[in-house]
Each structure stands twice: as structure tokens, then as C-alpha cells.
Symmetry: C2
Subunit: 174 residues, 2 copies
DNA sequence: TACTATGTTTAGTAATTACTAAACGCACAG
DNA sequence: CTGTGCGTTTAGTAATTACTAAACATAGTA
């Protein structure tokens, strides 16, 4: 039907691509998500290829990444060997799984390193005065990261409670 | 004094570098911040060069970027031509200015594009049925972005109220 | 005026990341 | 067992980004 995509879709895809890059994901990932999100029915890998202009390989890997992040779902039709993908439409759910993903891996490791530095500092060999200073600084940073961690856990907790909760938060902070 | 940096500092710097990259900033930026953050006194550009191992040019541009983000402050001593830099230690303040910075520029533009798509969709020429579907999807995304926007405004509002507020938020979401 | 100590800009390089094209593997159909 | 339709992997390329080295600009100093 829409062999040449309508301009509006193009713009939308472009917009999501930008947003994707902005948050540190590949541009193509945003494009793929956009295509799926605007499709009333699940799409096969090749349909995504056509609509995004990416190659099969790229789509294959990116779509898998999206699935790992919980932004798309993979399904299949009986008596059809193709895989089909559709976009998650509950964005809070998505955020939740993205944060979960991000919390593991590198970030945690880096954070552990900082924590470790603190521990070792306390038994370190520097002058008492300088040491006290360093300990305090590292501790403050540590505390901050913990707060961030809590905050993201809080977001995770939002579950599918939706927007009303955000409003609640806003009202408290008013 | 510490010509060869103690291992603990090295580790800390390395840790912050990783964290920096993880959040989409250059590695060197994290390193510079780490050095400043661990210094009891403001440092000159050349001192930063020594401690990070970067070149003068890199430090010059990155430190300026950090200043724009509100993560470091530039100062100068009387009768001393050097500039001196020190780290912001109120991280909530930092987050606030980072978010402010991010909200302008690209992200806003992309968001505007999506908004625009919605408007044009409503007067578009597609089949009524398909159009209704698209409008609904774009609208939902729009709403989500607004919520995110609100949330980040909320964080911005935290001002220097500190951690207790995060706890408050947590308690609501319990 | 020229000299020195600073920070900035620039042009090029290195490193990283996203992507392409094509080979591959696997399951099903004949 | 062979061929066909699919997704995956891989090896190489393009594009982006972070950085270096060095020229440059500026302001103070002799």
C-alpha cells in the first residue's frame, strides 16, 4: 500500500531516530522502533528492512537489541517461518526494562570501583588530613549515586501505574 | 607532592571515566571532573593536564564543556594569569543544569517534530481508519514525552533540597 | 617593541561505532 | 538429499567522535 512512505511517517521516523541517538542508542534503533510503533500489525524482518532502508543484518541485530530492552516483542504466526515484531506501547514498562538493563553491566561495575576506592582509602597511608578530605568526597559521591539508584528503582516501581504518579511526584515537589 | 598519582586516585578517575562514557559523555570529561573533584584546591589547566595525561587542547575544550554543564567552576587568583577550576560538589545542582542543557537543543527539536507530525496527521489524507490509528499512537508517545519532560522538570525542582526528597518520592511510590 | 606565559583553535589522526554485503546455518518442502 | 526461504554471523567499510600536536591569539612584562 504505502510503497513510498508518506511524508508524515518519514518525519516521525526521522524524529525518533534523533531522539534515539540523543539518548545514546543507535539511530537505526529508533527508526526500527518508529516503524513498528506506527504499524497496526506486527511486521516481518523484511518488511522492516523495506521501511527503514537498513539491511537485513543491521535490522536483525538491532531488533534483537530492542527485544532485550523490552521495547519490541517477537512473535510468530503458525505455519509461517517468519518472525514478526511489534512495538511495546506501554512506555513505562519499556523504561523499566531499559533501566534494569542499564543498571547491570558497566554502570554497576564502575560504581563498585568507586565504592572500593572508598574502602581502601579508609585504610590508606596518606596524611590524615588529606585522607579525611578524600574520604568525605568519595563518600558524598557514593551517596549521590545511591540516591540516583533509588530514584531509578522508583521509576521502575511505577509499573504501569501511568502518568498520574508523575503528577503526584510533581505535586510533592511543588 | 603526588607526582605519580596514588593507585586509589587512579582507580577513582578510571571509574568516573567509565561512568562518564556510560552516560554519553566523553571519557576524558569524567577524568577531568574526577581530578578536580578529588582536589582540595582549585587546579590550573596545566595541573589538570598533568594529572589526566590529556593534552592542553583537549582539557581546554572539555573543561569549558564541563563549565557549561555547571559541573565545574572557573575562577582566577589575583595577580595570576592562570585560570583555576574546581568541581561543583552539589550534584543535584549539577543534574539540574545538565537536564536544562539537554532539554534545549536537539531533544526539543526532535520532540517538536513529533508534535508536528501529530498535527499534520489530523488533517491528513489517509483513510479515516488508518489515520485514527496513527493519531492515537503518536498522541500516546507525545503524552509520554510530556511526562518525561515533567519528571525532569521535577528533578530540576529538587534544587538543593538533597536526598530527603528522593526518599519522599520513594515513599509515595511504595 | 619584542618576549613570555597563558588559553584557544585548527587540522589531522586514532579509535570507536554503526552499518553493509555476503557467506553461513538451519529447518522445512519437495 | 537437494533446494528454498528465512534469520544470523562475520569481515570489511563508512561515519562519527575523541583526541593530539602544533599554530595561533592575547595580555602582561621587560
Amino acid at each position: 500500500m504505502t510503497n513510498a512512505l508518506p511524508q508524515i511517517k518519514r518525519d516521525f521516523i526521522e524524529g525518533l531516530s534523533q531522539i534515539s541517538r540523543f539518548w545514546g542508542f543507535p539511530k537505526g534503533m529508533g527508526a526500527i522502533f518508529a516503524v513498528l510503533y506506527l504499524s497496526p500489525a506486527p511486521l516481518s524482518l523484511d518488511e522492516i528492512v523495506v521501511q527503514t532502508g537498513l539491511t537485513k543484518g543491521a535490522v536483525s541485530t538491532q531488533v534483537r537489541a530492542l527485544a532485550r530492552l523490552g521495547l519490541v516483542y517477537r512473535s510468530s504466526k503458525l505455519a509461517d517461518r517468519k518472525d514478526y515484531y511489534e512495538a511495546e506501547t506501554d512506555f513505562y514498562k519499556s523504561i523499566r526494562s531499559i533501566l534494569k538493563e542499564r543498571q547491570n553491566t558497566e554502570f554497576d561495575r564502575a560504581l563498585a570501583a568507586v565504592k572500593d576506592a572508598l574502602v581502601r582509602l579508609e585504610s590508606g597511608a596518606t596524611h590524615a588530613e588529606e585522607r579525611a578530605f578524600l574520604v568525605e568526597r568519595v563518600r558524598a559521591l557514593q551517596e549521590f549515586f545511591d540516591a540516583i539508584d533509588n530514584l531509578s528503582r522508583a521509576v521502575v516501581k511505577l509499573e504501569s501505574l501511568g502518568i498520574s504518579n508523575v503528577q503526584k511526584i510533581l505535586s510533592i515537589l511543588k
